[in-house]
Structure formats: structure tokens, C-alpha cells
């Protein structure tokens, strides 16, 4: 693999974390324009942990997850009673506040005669952990994807668990879910926290991948993109958002020769795709059908009314 390919793949992997974060909230029926805030918080927290405090990477990433998740729970509580557009705009407002606060945030320490740390709108340079510890690009790529696989496994388990079912029930109809004895508030805060933690890990990885972060990266564009990934790839499974990221970055990279027309082509494709498949490529129906391929035989036998093949 050449450096370019490794770079693109690393990017796809890291962005997938934000996309999954937005997807998790979509499951509970909420549209967040603000998951980039927790990505940013994770990036700064993990970057500060390794570059300024000298923490090991694993601990820093965990710290990024805790910071992202903690912040998400803190925002989740006041926005709990908001729904629909009100929730979406509240997350947008919060994320923009976070971005501006990082533009004002200065915390620099002199390390080896050089000032390191967040420097307001100038950004946060010198997150050099992977250079200092001789981790090469392929190893870091492996780290990104092993974490991503772990997260996906988590999603698969979640979808089969009672919590996952509760999330989807709340997404379908929160009032009905509440009437069936599901604690809507607790599940919503839990989903917000988990989504924040996911974005936080992604942010931590991102900071160490690029060695440099600046507040401008974490603007509304990133948030709406991560939301769009789930819609493009499909809301039926956690692989949907991943497919969305792959299509976005992959397609954009592959039509690079058409530089000036990239977004015109891509925007058009997405718009038409959403007319044909309003819940994405891998939507619930398709996922269900694929799932049935593997368990086709036993429900037919069980009730004895299976059609002859």
C-alpha cells in the first residue's frame, strides 16, 4: 500500500466513528447536527493527554472517550425534552459554542524548548505521539480498524440486546415506547453518552493521525456530513454509515480528475439515491431480507406452513 492509500483508508476509518455516533442517535429517532463537538472534545482531550501530560496512547484515547461521553451526557440532560427540529438546532448551537470556545482556548506548556498545546484559533500543533514512539502509518491504520471492528461488534451485540431494541422502539415512537414501560429518558441519555464517547474516541484517533487539530475542522459541515453518511449507507445496520463514509470519501477521491465538478456530481447522486432509497442503501427492509437468508429454514418448519421450495 502506498502512502496515499493508507492516508485515505485512515481517514475513512476515523470519520466512521463520527458517522456511527450520529447513527446511534438516529436509531433513537433524533437528528443531531452536533456530533462534531464530541469529536472535537475527544481530539483535544486525547491530544493534551499525550502531548502535554505524557500519557500513553491507550489511556489518552480512553480519556477522549470519557470526555466526549461526559460532555454528551451533560448536553443530553437539558435537551432531553426537545424533539425533532428543536433537538437538532440545540445540538447545532452547542457544537458551535464548543468550536468557538476552542478558538478561545489556550493551554500551552513548554516542552523541549517549544511551546506545545492548544493555541486558540491557531490550533493545536505537535501531537507527536506516533512519531515519538515509532508507530508507522500502517500500524496506526491497524489500530484504527481494530477499534472500529470492536465498535461494530459492540453494535451487533447492541442490536440484539434489550437496550438496542429499546433504542429502536423509542426511535419509532417515543410515547408508545414509554407506555410499554421503557424508560425513555434514561435510554436517551444513555444513547447520547455512548454516541459522545464514540465520537470522542474518533477524535482522539484523528488528533494523533494528523498530529494537528484546529477548531475550524469541527464546524457544522462535519456534523451534517456524519449525519448524511448514515442516510446514504442505510439506517438498517451499523454497516450503513460505514458504507456511507466509504462511498463519500471513496467516490470523491476516485472522481478527483473531475475536480471542478466533484460536488455537483456527488450532490446529484446523493439526491437521486435518497429519492429511490429514503432510508439509505442498507435500509431496515434489506437488512431484514439478508438476515432471513441465513435463518430461512427454521421459521418455516416451526409453524409448518412453509412454502415448498
Amino acid at each position: 500500500m502506498d502512502d496515499y492509500m493508507i492516508g485515505v483508508l485512515s481517514n475513512i476509518g476515523v470519520v466512521s466513528f463520527v458517522a456511527l455516533s450520529a447513527y446511534l442517535l438516529l436509531l433513537t429517532g433524533e437528528i443531531s447536527f452536533g456530533q462534531q463537538a464530541f469529536f472535537a472534545i475527544g481530539a483535544y482531550a486525547a491530544g493534551i493527554a499525550t502531548a502535554l501530560w505524557g500519557w500513553p496512547l491507550a489511556l489518552a484515547l480512553a480519556w477522549g472517550a470519557v470526555s466526549g461521553g461526559g460532555a454528551a451526557v451533560l448536553v443530553g440532560i437539558p435537551t432531553l425534552r426537545l424533539h425533532g427540529l428543536y433537538f437538532s438546532i440545540a445540538t447545532l448551537a452547542f457544537a458551535e459554542m464548543v468550536r468557538i470556545l476552542f478558538e478561545l482556548f489556550r493551554y500551552q506548556v513548554e516542552i523541549d524548548g517549544e511551546l506545545v498545546g492548544p493555541n486558540g484559533a491557531e490550533g493545536f500543533r505537535g501531537i507527536r505521539y506516533i512519531f515519538d514512539h515509532n508507530i508507522d502509518a500502517v500500524q496506526f491504520l491497524a489500530l484504527i480498524y481494530s477499534l472500529l471492528v470492536a465498535v461494530l461488534l459492540g453494535f451487533v451485540l447492541l442490536e440484539r440486546s434489550q437496550t438496542g431494541v429499546a433504542f429502536r422502539m423509542i426511535g419509532e415512537d417515543a410515547t408508545l415506547a414509554g407506555l410499554q414501560g421503557i424508560s425513555v429518558a434514561r435510554h436517551k441519555v444513555l444513547a447520547a453518552g455512548l454516541a459522545g464517547a464514540l465520537a470522542g474516541v474518533g477524535g482522539g484517533l484523528y488528533a494523533h493521525l494528523t498530529t494537528y487539530v484546529e477548531p475550524r475542522i469541527f464546524d457544522v459541515m462535519l456534523g451534517v456530513h456524519s449525519l448524511a453518511y448514515g442516510l446514504i449507507g442505510g439506517l438498517g445496520t451499523a454497516f450503513g454509515p460505514l458504507l456511507g463514509v466509504l462511498i463519500d470519501i471513496g467516490l470523491l477521491e476516485s472522481i478527483r480528475p473531475l475536480a471542478g465538478y466533484r460536488m455537483i456530481i456527488f450532490g446529484g447522486i446523493v439526491a437521486v439515491l435518497l429519492i429511490v432509497r429514503p432510508r439509505g442503501l442498507l435500509d431496515e427492509k434489506l437488512v431484514h431480507r439478508i438476515g432471513r437468508l441465513f435463518v430461512r429454514s427454521w421459521p418455516a418448519k416451526k409453524d409448518g406452513r412453509g412454502k415448498p421450495a
Binding site: 425533532g84 448551537a93 459554542m97 468557538i100 460536488m263 435518497l274 429519492i275
Partner: protein
């Protein structure tokens, strides 16, 4: 004290254009029950059309204004046809994401037509500011405030005094019931969309003419200002949109003066967040069943 009053005056003037942006936004949301993220970019397309007319033919302000409004309305219809009309009833999120994809498209189209980062935009009015004791009022600000309030009043009249307005309000109230009593929903929707985008176009023209420049970032700016003013004022109300815009304008002018542009934006978003958390219906809006549906 003089500063405080002067800032309030300036804020009200600028805020009137925010109010217009919010007005177009709230009409689209009311009729569609869906968020049109491409609203600001449609206005930006109008602005670019106006700039082309200005640069190519040296047109005067009224011709440029007409070009901006027409451009915004046409872009609005394009968005409606592609992102809203063909979507199924339950696919509100798909519409929103689709309008975001078209946003990217419109932005790139603008850059293709005029590739530099910034272009000059013709001024609205020149001449010395009007002096009122210690205070000064810019002439172009005054034109902005007058046009914005006039147009908002006209929209209110159309909504409450015409058959078309009645049809619109019926759809906003309940599209199925409106259809059952004979409102041609499929005809009114694109018209409302074009009209709302044209209102945004007027706001866009006023802002661009006061700033005397246009960049591709204007689309995002217009969407965000319109959203904030609409939510502060309260969804689904003409006076609410205008009041929300004026309040946002004053808040921005004051915080900009005392703390600079970064804190200005921070304060604006904080006020928005606080409104949503404490009083989601905004200044005067009614939190109807419609507006709590999925965006």
C-alpha cells in the same frame, strides 16, 4: 450609554434582514414540515446571479435586486423538485439530507461561475449618514430596515387577507385536511417554496448590498442566521420571525462592540441554546404538533 443606544440602532437595522431570512425559512418549514438546509445556498445562488448581472452589464441596484430574487426563487424550485416533491410522506430526514447534498452542489456551481473567493457587490445607497444628536444612522441601513419591515407586513397581509394565504395556512395547519377541502396542495407547495426563497432573496440582496461583497460562504451564513432568528422568534409565526431577527441583530451588535466577533457568535449560539432549553417555543411561536415532528 451613547454606544449602547447606537449599537441597538445598528443591531435593529441589521437584524431586520435576519428577520426576513427567518421569515422565508419559517414559511418553508411550516408548509413542508421539513428543514431545507439549501435555503441559504439558494439565496447565495441568487446573489451570484446578481453579481454576474452587475459585473457583466453594470446593472443598477434595482436590476441586481430583481436578479437576486429571481435566482433565489429558481434555485428554490430546483431544491423543491429534487429534494422535497419526490420524497415519500415519512421520509423527512431524507429530504433534509438531500437538501444538504444539493447545498454542496449549489456551492460548487457558484464557485464554477465565479472562481475568486470574493466579488464586489453594488452598494445599496450612498451618501452621508443621517445625524440624530449623538447618533448616526447609515442610509443603506435605513433602506434595509424599511424594505424588510415592508415586505414582512406584505407577507402577513398575503397570509391573512388572500385566498392563496388561506390555502397556505390550511396546509400549514394540516396538509391532509387542506387537500380534502379542495386546496391544490401539489400546486401551492412549489409556489410557497419559490415565494419563501424569493423572500430570502430580498434579505440576501439587502445584506450583500450593505456588505458590498459576496463569497461562497454566504450560503451557510444565511442558513445559520435564518435558523437562529427563526428559533429564537418561534417557529411558524411572521411577527416571531421578525422579532427573532431584530433580537438577534441587537444581541450581535452589542456583543460585537463590547467583546469582539468570536464572543459575538458565542453569545448568539448561547442565547439560541438557552431559548431551546428553557423556552423552546421562542418569543411568540406556538409549539404546535407540526413543529415537533421530525425535521
Amino acid at each position: 450609554m451613547v454606544d449602547l443606544v447606537q449599537n441597538t440602532i445598528d443591531g435593529l437595522m441589521i437584524g431586520s434582514s435576519y428577520g426576513l431570512l427567518a421569515l422565508g425559512f419559517t414559511l418553508i418549514f411550516g408548509v413542508m414540515r421539513r428543514l431545507n438546509l439549501s435555503y441559504g445556498p439558494s439565496v447565495m445562488i441568487g446573489g451570484y446571479l446578481g453579481t454576474v448581472v452587475y459585473l457583466q452589464f453594470g446593472a443598477g441596484p434595482l436590476t441586481v435586486a430583481a436578479a437576486v430574487v429571481v435566482g433565489a426563487a429558481v434555485a428554490g424550485i430546483y431544491v423543491e423538485r429534487l429534494c422535497f416533491a419526490p420524497m415519500k410522506a415519512g421520509a423527512a430526514i431524507a429530504s433534509m439530507v438531500s437538501s444538504f447534498a444539493i447545498w454542496m452542489q449549489l456551492e460548487q456551481a457558484a464557485i464554477l461561475v465565479l472562481p475568486r473567493h470574493t466579488y464586489a457587490f453594488p452598494p445599496l445607497a450612498t451618501g452621508a449618514p443621517i445625524e440624530l444628536g449623538p447618533f448616526a444612522i447609515r442610509v443603506d441601513h435605513l433602506v434595509m430596515l424599511g424594505s424588510a419591515l415592508g415586505l414582512a407586513a406584505a407577507v402577513q397581509l398575503v397570509l391573512y387577507r388572500t385566498r392563496f394565504g388561506l390555502a397556505l395556512r390550511a396546509i400549514i395547519g394540516n396538509p391532509v385536511a387542506a387537500h380534502l377541502v379542495g386546496v391544490d396542495v401539489r400546486m401551492v407547495m412549489p409556489l410557497a417554496f419559490a415565494g419563501a426563497s424569493a423572500i430570502g432573496g430580498v434579505a440576501g440582496f439587502l445584506v450583500l448590498a450593505v456588505d458590498q461583497q459576496i463569497t461562497p460562504m454566504f450560503g451557510m451564513w444565511a442558513t445559520l442566521k435564518g435558523l437562529i432568528a427563526m428559533m429564537i422568534g418561534g417557529l411558524g409565526s411572521v411577527p416571531g420571525a421578525v422579532l427573532g431577527g431584530l433580537l438577534l441583530g441587537v444581541i450581535e451588535a452589542q456583543s460585537q462592540w463590547y467583546f469582539g466577533p468570536q464572543i459575538r457568535d458565542l453569545v448568539a449560539y448561547f442565547v439560541l441554546f438557552a431559548f431551546l432549553a428553557i423556552r423552546p417555543r421562542g418569543l411568540v411561536g406556538s409549539m404546535s404538533e407540526a413543529s415537533t415532528q421530525k425535521a
